[in-house]
């Protein structure tokens, strides 16, 4: 029989570092941390040594020197005497531009294809399957160069619009020109403009634009109010009043009034000299990148959408149908709210992928951040280390922001569940 003695007092022995659960964790972590720091120190030491022997100590000063190169598409004012930093900012904005446009189009196409893939129409479902498989299984870089090549080869050059019986013609009453240099569309102009608002002295924001945004926002808010009222009436009487014309009017009328007040008119593109002048020029590089990224990503989004809808069991649709709900209502009241939860997380991670893939812009010469900071600037200054680190940092920040949104959404949705 074992006699019970007092438990042995804790006296520290070296063996406890390994065999005592309390210290073991600590030991392992200290060792790991030490190893990690050793590795980091080694890498940094190598780098410093290498750079020193090359005579290129880390120095971000080059960012403030004149860039000396031109960028064809700039969202903020820029010319070749501006600094590399500003060139990078131009690139970053271009990255964000194509990312936002891409996410929007990819969502639209992806959702459409995902739903059409479930269509009862055999042919449509097959075509969508072919589309999805084709795009998913060919590298996105190839799609980007493909898209560029298609644009360049299949659309007419501006010179084809010239002359009496020109081989090409503008669309929509001479307002839109699709050329292989890009698309020229009418631009909004204001006869009585409010001027620009400089922000931090770095760039200007058009006050007209701000005013329009404000009116639009107010209109949408009012429309929301009308909707709440409709909800209230429905709750009270059971009948939902028809309000779409009211809601439309409340958004559109003030907007139209403002536009008239500002002397809104369109500036049409016009063939002058070598090119179309006036209007908004969406460059072929932007369009190719945008379309390729969107359609490539849309294939993945379509799968997520299809999966999301399929995940909502057939039973849900049947139960709703058995209650007498119409197909449209079944979609909006039963299927979509549930499918959204399944779809949104993969959707956002596809947004992330699209944003990262937009770095392939250099393949078509679209001047995104990789093209400016990670391309020409790096090339002309020879500051590889600084440029690549900065580039990674910028992408990392964008990615983390997107992930943060995703996590926020996930936790929010989870709360609703239980």
């Amino acid at each position: 029989m074992t006699t019970l003695t007092d438990p042995p007092k804790d006296s520290f022995r070296l063996g406890m570092l390994i065999y005592d659960t309390r210290y073991r964790a600590l030991t392992i972590q200290v060792v790991a941390l030490f190893a990690f720091m050793l590795l980091a120190a080694w890498l940094i030491n190598n780098t410093v040594q290498n750079l020193a022997s090359l005579g290129k100590p880390i120095d971000f000063g080059f960012l403030s020197t004149a860039a000396q190169y031109d960028i064809n598409q700039t969202l903020i004012a820029y010319d070749n005497q501006d600094s590399h930093l500003r060139a990078s900012a131009v690139g970053l904005l271009n990255t964000l531009l194509v990312a936002v446009m891409g996410c929007a189009l990819a969502t639209v196409v992806g959702v459409l294809v995902g739903i059409l893939r479930l269509s009862r129409n055999w042919l449509v479902a097959r075509i969508m399957t072919v589309y999805v498989e084709l795009f998913r299984n060919v590298p996105v870089l190839l799609w980007i160069v493909f898209a560029m090549a298609i644009l360049i080869e299949s659309l007419p050059a501006p010179r084809d619009f010239r002359g009496e019986d020109a081989p090409a013609a503008m669309l929509f009453g001479d307002s839109v020109a699709l050329t292989n240099r890009g698309f020229y569309v009418p631009e909004p102009l204001f006869a009585r403009t409010l001027g620009d608002l400089p922000v931090f002295g770095a760039f200007d924001i058009s006050l007209d634009f701000l005013a329009i945004l404000a009116v639009l926002g107010a209109g949408l808010f009012a429309s929301g109010l009308i909707r709440t009222r409709a909800d209230r009436i429905q709750n009270a009487t059971g009948i939902r009043p028809t309000t779409w014309y009211l809601r439309l009017g409340v958004v559109l009328l003030p907007l139209i009034a403002l536009l008239v007040a500002l002397g809104f008119h369109l500036g049409y593109p016009e063939l002058r000299g070598f090119n179309f002048q006036g209007g908004i020029h969406m460059r072929n590089s932007l369009i190719a990148l945008w379309l390729a990224l969107s359609f490539y990503t849309a294939a993945f989004i379509a799968e997520a959408v299809r999966g999301g809808i399929l995940a909502i069991s057939k039973g849900q649709t049947e139960a709703a149908a058995a209650l007498g709900l119409r197909p449209g209502r079944i979609m909006s009241l039963v299927i979509l709210p549930q499918a959204m939860r399944v779809i949104i997380p993969p959707l956002i991670s596809q947004y992330l992928n699209l944003t990262k893939n937009s770095s392939l812009a250099i393949a078509v010469g679209y001047m995104d951040i990789t093209g400016t900071l990670g391309g020409i600037t790096m090339n002309q200054t020879g500051r590889e280390l600084e440029c690549v680190l900065l580039l990674m940092l910028i992408y990392l920040v964008i990615s983390l922001l997107i992930s943060a949104v995703m996590n926020w959404y996930n936790t929010r949705v989870k709360l609703v569940e239980r």
Binding site: Q29, L51, E133, N137, L142, A149, K356
Partner: protein, 433 residues
């Protein structure tokens, strides 16, 4: 109210359905014209198909296979199909397909990459199919050493000595853990092989080669190119990323704060930046990070970065597999007295990896597609090669034929892989668990 009783004494035989619901007519009605909207969609789809085919087919068919330059191609097509016909110049593919497939790999050694990739496929089989004889697993264990040897060639002793490192590690684990306990054993198992590889393995391999020379023609990695380069990068990266991914996933799951932080940091960093920036690191910076004077060639550097890239994604895939394992499995292992590593090796990993296989395959497809980015840093993968080919005066101006061929190669490869992973997924779902 009528009489409720009813008894059927003669069963109704099965009848054919009404003609409108079966047969080609029924099928058409059901699948293509079930409603006006569907009919419109069907017509639109037919229009689309017609449009695509009518543009692509003539170009593909009215082509030249024999010319030796683009100009000659144009002449041949004009001669055969009339002036003004535009057709494909497949001759460039005929002349260069071997280059697009194998790059600069010596043509008399083409059997080696073919054999190596065949072997890799074979080695995969016993891992994936539990039905195959377990003895084939030896092939899977040997493949990571044999395949690189076949690809890069050189002395047979190099892979042997590398493999020996694992043997040494195992031996160290046995000996040391018997003498000084489990954790010391694990540490020894980690340290000994690394020391061996760093300091002794090359010497040993050199000695052995001197004593017993046996080897095949070495091929520099610079000779790798074309599709073979893509496969090599993809294959090596995935194989290496598997163990790294496992370690990262375990680290991320661990409740040791610092280890977890390091792993999470690494994974999120790699997943947060585009691959192209990592390739910039490979081509521009990696040599800075190494001790002055070290220099390994660009393909190795790319493989390193792509491996790190794949590892982060792999870690997430495996983490999913780990999360899918019920807690009971860990507890049962604990209750039986298995320590952490044994539990991981015997209970957790075999199951988690099996669950993760579809994810691993799709990571592989992703990485494989992404290998095309190496063309941006000047490596001659199929896409890079297409540029070099166009830099020849004869083929300057050829576009679609090359892109089309490359796209078809990738499509065939990735599509079959993805089908295969779907098959695996189905199999895993129905398999008893």
């Amino acid at each position: 109210m009528a009489d409720l009783t009813f008894v059927r004494h003669e069963m109704v035989p099965e009848q054919a359905p009404p003609a409108t619901s079966v047969g080609p007519r029924g099928w058409l009605r059901e699948n293509l014209f079930s409603s006006p909207l569907n009919a419109i969609l069907t017509l639109l789809s037919l229009g689309l198909i017609w449009w695509v085919l009518s543009h692509a087919l003539p170009w593909i068919v009215l082509s030249s296979w024999t010319a030796s330059s683009l100009g000659e191609c144009r002449e041949q097509i004009a001669a055969a199909h009339g002036e003004g016909t535009t057709g494909a110049c497949w001759a460039v593919i005929r002349e260069r397909y071997l280059q697009l497939l194998f790059g600069f790999y010596p043509s008399d050694l083409y059997w080696r990459p073919l054999l190596a990739f065949g072997l890799a496929l074979l080695a995969l089989a016993p891992v994936l199919f539990t039905a195959l004889p377990r003895r084939l697993l030896w092939l899977s264990a040997a493949a990571p050493f044999v395949v690189p040897w076949l690809l890069w060639g050189g002395s047979v002793w190099v892979p042997v000595c590398v493999a020996l490192g694992f043997g040494l590690g195992l031996a160290a684990l046995r000996v040391v853990s018997a003498a000084a306990g489990g954790l010391a054993g694990v540490i020894a198992a980690g340290v000994v092989p690394v020391l061996w590889w760093l300091f002794l393995a090359w010497v040993a391999a050199g000695l052995l080669q001197a004593i017993l020379p046996f080897g095949i023609t070495p091929v520099e990695s610079r000779a790798f190119g074309g599709f073979m380069l893509s496969i090599t990068i993809g294959l090596v990266a995935i194989t290496l990323s598997l163990p790294i991914g496992i370690v990262l996933a375990l680290g991320r799951q661990s409740n040791l704060l610092i280890i977890k932080a390091i792993c999470v940091g690494f994974i999120e960093f790699i997943r947060g930046v585009p691959l192209i920036t990592l390739l910039f690191v490979a081509s521009l910076l990696l040599n800075y990070f190494m001790p002055p004077g070290t220099n390994f060639d660009i393909i190795l550097r790319v493989i390193i970065m792509v491996t790190l890239f794949a590892s982060a994604y792999m870690a997430e895939v495996i983490r999913g597999g780990l999360a899918a394992l019920p807690r009971g499995q860990y507890e049962a292992a604990d209750a039986l007295g298995l320590d952490y590593w044994k539990a991981q090796r015997l209970i957790v990993m075999p199951q988690a990896l099996k669950i993760s296989i579809p994810g691993i395959v799709s990571t592989f497809i992703g990485v494989f597609k992404d290998t095309t980015l190496v063309s941006i840093i000047g490596l001659l993968d199929p896409l890079g090669f297409s540029n070099s080919i166009r830099a020849n005066a004869e083929w300057n101006g050829v576009v679609w034929e090359l892109y089309g061929f490359i796209a078809a190669l990738f499509f065939v490869f990735c599509f079959s892989m993805s089908r295969y992973s779907m098959y695996l997924e189905r199999k895993l779902r129905t398999e008893n668990r």
